[in-house]
Symmetry: C2
Amino acid sequence: MSQLTCQEWSYHRRVSLRIAALGLLAQQPGSGYDLLRLFEQSMANVWPATQSQLYSELNKLADGGLIEVSAIGPRGRKEYRITDAGRAELRRWVNNPADDPPFRSPRLLRIFLLGEVSPSQAREHLAELAGRADGEIARLEKLRTEIVSENPDDGLFYGLAALDYGLRLNAMEAEWARSVIDAIDAR
Amino acid sequence: MSQLTCQEWSYHRRVSLRIAALGLLAQQPGSGYDLLRLFEQSMANVWPATQSQLYSELNKLADGGLIEVSAIGPRGRKEYRITDAGRAELRRWVNNPADDPPFRSPRLLRIFLLGEVSPSQAREHLAELAGRADGEIARLEKLRTEIVSENPDDGLFYGLAALDYGLRLNAMEAEWARSVIDAIDAR
DNA sequence: TCCCTCATGTAACACGTTACATGATTTC
DNA sequence: GAAATCATGTAACGTGTTACATGAGGGA
């Protein structure tokens, strides 16, 4: 009975917002509200979060002993901080990439099904994809400039690495989309 | 009362396995069991499916009139085929990329949190990523050779385009991972 | 007959979204 | 005092996974 208390944390490895929240709390304590803004600002590019889910995950994390309330402020504000168990869990997750969820991409699925629409519609769709990727590149480059100027030390080293991934991904995507357009034209 | 019948299909746009199944049935009729094998073979790289979900989605699709049972075989086998409404829905989805779910990547989240482990562990993790990407490239290239040799016509044009995306993605990832390793070494 | 493949389904759970609900504190 | 912001929560639903369950047909 009640096998659901502690083992839970080792069972479900396909875990996500839980980890993202844990990761933010590993850097500094904060309330749900604080975390929400951190998600919007820094982590949204990697892991968007909704308010609703965040608060319930924080409660679950606290129930599981991975975080704890470090202070109570006005308006019922609960400031959380990570525990040793939480840090261990975070490290375990980072070191175990084996069991990530399978790769799923609505974008690629759409490409797969592009034969269902006319060639001109397909070309248009791909051109939009390429344009969107160009826009993303511009946005991310601006973001990088801001981050670099506001953080002279390299405290955000890995954040910038992730950003670089985004830049390369979008460059690849734009190039690829245009190559498919060329292939359609050459058909 | 009962607003849940037909409008449903226009409301939920973040739809996925539903569309993938519809897309396969658009190419040829088949049973749930047939589709399952098609998912494993051709579509697993783009949209993996579990047996359980597939069968219930097929029932929902049939309830919604997007597919219909075209024949009943031995062992209760139900062969489905797409309807006109189904084709229309499929085309609508392909033409409306705007409301795809937000981009989420456990892989990138892990990079973001790589500061939690030691530099040597981080380097090792990135090396594994690069190696895995190399392996994926080999696998996809083999797959492409098979597809090209078995399909002299270009009936799988968009399938090959999706495959090319996968190749470029993995090449990008390997290159990126190695560049981050270099950056760690240079720190 | 026994086993493998074909063939479909149910139940419980995990994760994420949207919408709704509530109230305290600060600021103008 | 009104409004914006801070701060947390619940409920219902959609989608995906795992495990379990069932049975028919074909070949050794």
